[in-house]
């Protein structure tokens, strides 16, 4: 079982990206033996009202059982709490918020309210540090990267808050993990897509220092080649249990659906 918690569908505004359709994403999942993907709607990251992409996302997920919708929520817009209810009622694996793209203070009052609401509803919040390498971004793509300080601040807002951080590198993970209490860190998960493998061995180091239980298989596809995250794992000396935890087990522990309902997941033949 392999679950990609960091997947997108839909067009990207700043450069040509092939393979953004649902069908293409499914093909890419087959190519790298991903059984299930937690999918965000890429265009709406840049919309004034990102939640307007959620109905399409939910309909798409209804048609494709391997795809689980990560609903977008903008806590600066009136009525945003409805997204949290929808996520809860529909067993969405997470909601996502991209505060710097929405011009919100990433640790400000709106974000703190969002964390509280997610915690109250037992909904996981997903935040991305970045979508592209800062060195290559389009000249008009100026949203700041998510600061590590904001993550440290948000995880302290509510003891029931649970947050997934995607696209973080080793330095970011270490700054937040060792800048948080063990209890706070136990409510944070990291996808592996931006963490370097050998010869720098950042992922291997983090698995030893932070612990395999904190990491999730994520790819960032189709903005990034999904083969990368598989290659990272293939280059590690992992026990079967460790690899299984990273590839799907850890995600299962935070996925309300897998905790409350029988699995409906599709299994991809190797």
């Amino acid at each position: 079982m392999r679950t990609d918690v960091n997947c997108f569908v839909g067009a990207y505004p700043y450069r040509r990206v092939p393979g953004t359709s649902v069908e293409s994403v499914l093909q890419a999942m087959d190519r790298v033996s991903v059984d299930q993907a937690w999918v965000s709607h890429l265009p709406s990251v840049f919309w004034r009202s990102p939640a307007e992409g959620n109905p399409w996302l939910r309909e798409m997920a209804e048609r494709h059982e391997r795809l689980r919708p990560v609903l977008a929520v903008h806590p600066g817009l009136a009525g945003w709490e409805a997204v949290i209810r929808q996520a809860h009622d529909n067993d969405a694996p997470a909601v996502r918020c991209d505060p710097t793209y929405y011009s919100l203070d990433p640790a400000g009052s709106e974000m703190r309210s969002l964390v509280e609401a997610c915690a109250a509803a037992d909904v996981v919040l997903m935040l991305a540090v970045r979508l592209e390498d800062a060195r290559q971004r389009h000249p008009n793509d100026r949203a700041a990267e998510l600061p590590a300080a904001a993550v440290r601040s948000l995880i302290r807002v509510d003891p029931a808050a649970r947050i997934i951080i995607t696209h973080a590198d080793r330095g970011f993970v270490e700054e937040v993990h060792f800048g948080s209490t063990p209890e706070e860190s136990s409510r944070l998960w990291w996808d592996i897509c931006w963490i370097w493998g050998p010869p720098e061995d950042h992922l291997q180091t983090l698995l030893q220092t932070v612990g395999a239980e904190r990491f999730l298989f994520g790819t960032g596809q189709p903005l990034r080649l999904p083969e990368t995250s598989v290659a990272k794992l293939d280059l590690l000396e992992l026990s079967t249990d460790q690899r299984s935890a990273i590839e799907s087990g850890n995600a299962s522990t935070i996925d309300r659906q897998s905790l409350t309902r029988p699995s409906r997941r599709h299994r991809v033949s190797p």
């Binding site: 040509r16 592209e132 290559q136 370097w196 493998g197 010869p199 598989v230 290659a231």
Partner: protein, 266 residues
């Protein structure tokens, strides 16, 4: 056969106390991926006693010596680029003669001097005479000057390549950060410029754009600082290319542009 045309090794005078572990990790990961030959360079002292991209003659010499020793201790598995700083022209000429005579197979130019600067011409002259390629560090679309390096972009490398049509130039790490679309547009018409696929960037669409710009005949596979991303690109190329074209990118193009004796395992 798989040739990584963009590798690096560290040494005991670099700032990294874990230099042995990193070197060992590169070789170990290379075995798992199936890398037959690592074509590598060492940029002086890696910043310890002179800047990485402006290495002093003494640091250059130490780094090149260390790499020659690695080459001799791993015959057939590690081959070297001679690193020079064009600002020290007399030293550069002597170092090129020394290192190429000792068995290095290419020249590495990083960011000590802009690629289109006339100071690079005598170095390219040596490359032509000795029949070795030049791997040039590139910032994909340099919109300004960056601290610590006099970086060049694809257009500036293109100007140099146009002045030296008999020399093969390797545009370094297309996935190494920056606007690779700009680089590809700048060199697509220059048949003596090859695109090095290395770098941590694994952007969806990048490999398709590389193929569209220069075709499989001018792509060279490499890793640079991240072997995981190199392996990912190789795996994706298996879906994009025929087996014959994949071989071009994986090693045949390299075998063609490096000296005939460069890869004894061939």
């Amino acid at each position: 056969m798989l040739i990584d045309i963009h590798a690096h090794f560290l040494h005991d005078r670099s700032p990294r106390t874990d230099w042995r572990e990193r070197n060992a990790s590169r070789l170990q990961a290379g075995e798992r991926v199936g890398i037959t030959v690592h074509v590598a360079s060492i940029l002086g002292s890696w910043g310890a006693t002179s800047p990485i991209y402006f290495p002093s003659p003494a640091d250059i010499q130490y780094g090149n010596d260390f790499l020659l020793n690695l080459q001799w201790s791993h015959p057939g598995r590690i081959r070297g680029y001679a690193v020079v700083n064009p600002n020290f022209q007399r030293h550069a000429q002597a170092e090129l003669a020394r290192c190429l005579d000792a068995g290095m197979i290419g020249i590495k130019l990083a960011a000590s001097r802009r690629a289109d600067d006339p100071l690079l011409d005598p170095i390219c002259q040596v490359a032509r005479e000795r029949g070795v390629p030049v791997l040039h560090h590139i910032w994909q679309h340099r919109r300004r000057d960056y601290p610590g390096q006099e970086a060049s972009d694809g257009a500036e490398l293109g100007a140099l390549a146009a002045r030296h049509p008999e020399v093969s130039f390797l545009l370094a790490h297309i996935g190494g950060g920056g606007d690779w679309v700009h680089s590809l547009a700048a060199v697509r018409h220059l048949s003596n410029v090859y695109v090095d696929l290395s770098g941590s960037g694994v952007d969806g669409g990048m490999l398709e754009a590389c193929l569209d710009a220069v075709g499989p005949e001018r792509l060279l596979w490499g890793c640079d600082l991240t072997i995981d991303t190199g392996w990912a690109k190789l795996r994706y190329l298996e879906h994009l290319l025929s087996p014959a074209d994949l071989e071009l990118t994986a090693w045949r193009n390299a075998a063609r542009i490096f000296p005939p004796s460069a890869f004894p395992s061939l």
